[in-house]
Subunit: 196 residues, 4 copies
């Protein structure tokens, strides 16, 4: 089975997820800028989720680049990832409309955590399908981002019950970790691990 349709289907689902989130930005009743104020939390959580889905699309793209043969487990691991990502519009809207309450902030992190786990499962399915000389395994390397993110999500979920803003700040931090190019950090990590 070729990977073109897998990519096309994933692109379609991700494009729709990222776009239907904006439907939660409901047209305000008023006609002045004051009417926009209650929408700010919805807008900010939309912007954060947009960045997260962009990161997922970007990484998914790179990861599938190394795939040649799509196995049944890759296909279903991919579906599993799309399932959790499809819940992002729901948690995004709840965070925004509750104006940063605790439970929504925790659930937002829980869906991100499940998505990260699903991404890891997909990664492992691809690596194991490629056997000993897996290109993806070498490309991932130490995968410190992939290891730090779930820990930060878990911390954020716990902290959300204390102060939701702290949890949301942590989600922003994780997004920045993935966005900012990290050659120096990766270089350091490589040295620590004795790799070239």
């Amino acid at each position: 089975m070729g990977k073109n349709r897998l990519e096309a289907f994933s692109d379609g689902v991700l494009a729709i997820i990222i776009t239907i989130m904006v439907l939660e930005l409901r047209v305000p009743e008023g006609e002045d800028f004051g009417a926009l104020r209650p929408l700010m939390p919805v807008f900010l959580s939309y912007a954060l989720s947009f960045v997260y889905l962009g990161i997922y699309w970007n990484n998914h793209h790179h990861m599938l680049h190394t795939v040649h043969r799509v196995t049944g487990s890759i296909l279903w691991a991919n579906m599993h990832l799309l399932f959790w990502l499809s819940l992002v519009p729901f948690t995004t809207a709840w965070v925004g409309e509750s104006h940063y309450a605790g439970a929504p902030a925790a659930l937002y992190g829980a869906v991100l955590l499940m998505s990260a786990i699903a991404y890891y499962v997909l990664q492992q399915a691809i690596v194991s399908s490629q056997g000993q000389r897996s290109v993806l395994k070498r490309a991932i390397g130490a995968d410190w981002k992939g290891k730090v993110s779930p820990a930060l999500y878990a911390a954020a979920i716990a902290l959300a019950f204390w102060k939701a803003e702290v949890a949301l700040a942590l989600y922003v931090v994780v997004a920045l970790i993935w966005l900012i190019p990290d050659r120096r950090i990766e270089h350091t990590l490589r040295e620590l691990e004795g790799r070239p």
Copy 2:
């Protein structure tokens, strides 16, 4: 006529169907986890339908793999399949929002049954377009899953009026039948039928 646009269009429609279902998970009024409780049936029926549409996408993908020439009857049989699948978000939402009432559970099965019939019609359109040496015909083999599923849907529809939970359990069973790899069962069936 090439099959690329047929695949692209079907992928697009399936990706949209699978994703707009999540719009039925409406943001709850409350701001604590208790507010999520009435959403559980909607979430569970969403998850089940997500799996069903994943199975359809997967099988559709494999089936079209054997097609070289897209005839008019293949094109319209494909449209007919997409029509029934497009009703899945509606029945999914009704099952969820009615908290597993009888009529919604029966209608959910009826749409699955019509989709299965439409899938069978598409399969026959492809087989007959390929003539005597149809690759698809050999690939399908005894097609016991394709034969058992409609019978289970019909049983579930009848049982839904007695106890909706039994019908829904049957839909889960059919999904599992398609998900779980069945080499042993197929091997047995092959032996029973005297095929290698």
Copy 3:
């Protein structure tokens, strides 16, 4: 400019139009089959529009097959067609929710009429881009369907104010004209026109 992205974009828009129509099938309040009765007009108008969009997608597919070079006028004529087709979900919902009232039935036909005109304009843009030996021009032939349909739409719009059901019946007739293979009729027309 290649035509791949034009096809991909048109497929995307048509797939979304065809699928978001189903969002108008709102989950009923009740939990028995009686609750579905008021939805029947919405369902039937959805089914009719699904067939119309399927016909458009199918014909659009065949027409673009003859295109090699996408000019600016082809691109904008295509956008113009997509614009009118994007209004079909709105008129479909109005026809359904008004339970076949006169004005919605007339507007439904008006949007079909504008789509037919936009399709004709796109066809002419392609023919004129291909010059004297246009493949599309020969393929269209007498184009009796393309000539009869607007006349029937116009008649239906006028009749809608008298009896909406007659207008809707005419829309069904036009859909059938496009669906039913018409070799015999085309053969006859060819003979009448003295073509082989």
Copy 4:
């Protein structure tokens, strides 16, 4: 990294943005043409935004045509552009439902201005990735449209607080500037700049 998935993803997002806008055209309560009157502003703003998104899709298409290697900055500049364009359905609906009030008309222009800036940033990211002999840089030329549009958006935003209709008229003018072929103007500009 190839550009096919970048194009496919952008096409998907643009196709969805353009199509979900029509969901704001809500089915009227009444059943006669009078019920459509309050929808006219929504319809007109939808038509204007449809044209804008068509122009963006068209130009995006041409611009990516010159790209061979997709860098990280191109990818994120593209995401940034899609983010601002994804807000168009929201501002379109607000303009329409407020029946051309001042604040919505200003916000509509602000999103168009941010989109124009994001487009410019993407253009620069592509030009700088192509180095000295950038094909895109030569293709853009003086880019007078790209320079005039932001100025007109800014003027419209300021004027919106005085008279919203003037702002909306300016948005129509900018759309026309992009739609109307401008060979003569470009010819003049070329002469002024001493280019052939």
